[in-house]
Symmetry: none
Subunit: 240 residues, 2 copies
């Protein structure tokens, strides 16, 4: 059965609506949208709240709701090896595929990916290598239906997101990423070529496409001595 949540239906409608607009344009008033979409205002507002939280819309009390400032490209970049800025999964990285296979999602992963527990999930584990030195272990899990025909060699070089876009028509749009400190366990240490209990960054990322569908769930571990994350933060200008 389709999820069929009204909130999602409304959010999708708004996403389409926004797509045609330039930054700063107004969307119809909440009450008008309610009538047009046949939903209640709380429901509509819940949908708008989501888009406001992700920065696609901006509310202004007493004036209206507007499409957000032009989206930030690459709001977060990582420095590899210490000196240069590169998007995490772009450029001259190489990968050694350690695991590649389909399996049922199971209850936990099904929840994360918003799938049914029986749906197929592609699980890829790869060792990411820069300048002949292992840098990270990446465990990717994504809906099997999304990438039918994907083979291991596809994931050995190049940008995975570009591949998703150009070959599978998946429009990667946003991600929520969590970074934490950890240390390597025995297996990880061996693969990364560092001592056991070596400092490392654990990164979890959930990625969504333009329709809000979850595209991938990734859990990675990066060598602490060769990877760091730089982000640029912007604060609101409100009067406070």
């Amino acid at each position: 059965m389709r999820a069929g949540l009204k909130r999602d239906r409304v959010r999708d409608f708004l996403l389409d609506f926004i797509a045609d607009k330039r930054p700063g344009e107004a969307i119809p008033s909440e009450r008008d949208l309610c009538k047009e979409l046949g939903v209640s205002r709380p429901t509509l507002r819940a949908a708008i709240d989501d888009l406001v939280r992700s920065g696609l819309l901006v509310r202004e009390h007493g004036r209206g709701t507007f499409t957000g400032p032009h989206r930030v490209t690459q709001a977060l970049a990582a420095t590899a090896g210490g000196s240069f800025y590169a998007p995490p999964a772009e450029g001259h990285w190489l990968s050694r595929i350690l695991e590649f296979g389909l399996a049922p999602a199971g209850p936990q992963l099904a929840t994360r990916l918003r799938l049914a527990p029986a749906d197929a999930v592609l699980r890829v584990v790869r060792l990411r290598i820069v300048d002949d030195e292992p840098m990270a272990i990446e465990r990717i899990q994504l809906p099997g239906a999304l990438v039918e025909g994907l083979v291991p060699a596809d994931m050995e070089s190049g940008s995975f997101y570009r591949l998703l876009r150009e070959r599978f028509g998946v429009d990667v749009r946003s991600a929520v990423q969590t970074i934490e400190a950890t240390v390597t366990d025995e297996t990880e240490a061996e693969l990364l070529g560092v001592p056991q209990h070596f400092p490392a960054l654990g990164v979890e990322r959930t990625t969504r496409d333009a329709e809000g569908r979850i595209v991938e769930f990734v859990r990675s571990i990066y060598r602490g001595d060769r990877y760091r994350v730089t982000s640029e933060l912007h604060f609101d200008a409100d009067s406070g």
Copy 2:
């Protein structure tokens, strides 16, 4: 004056409530809390939603709502002009000032802060404490001219940025932040109450005001078991 929003009142109540709990403990059911606090369920749920988004609570359909894994998650807004997510536990942080004093910048720091080497720099080292447990060591360095009259007590609680804005007219606007994996040294371990060589996050931040002047340079170390960073990334909607 207090905002007086019921939602905020409820959120504060829940924060206090959570403070006493160990990770994974259940909170009363939504319906019970409604009765106890005298608010409607939508209002209560709005408050809980906030805490769930910040990771302090976890909902489980059909079972209940539980305190999250015991960690403080700081969400970073990655959208320009978008909403700024304050650290969730804002009001509950305390600080023990370890060092507080003016000194000439010196050559290196002068470069970082864009000052002359002879200019005064205020250096503050503080131990940040959440729920009576040490969480981080923060070494703040900022131009002395910016905060004349600042005393140690000012930095023991509350939001430093709000203080900068309201008392010193400094309009904090953007920051560049770098996160890396590290481990505690002897001193840090003792202050944080963890073993030596314990996993930790090293964070460096350079903060600017609306005019682009550098407001502060901060180097912090956070306990890896109690802190993580969440950011929301947005990619361009452009075709191509």
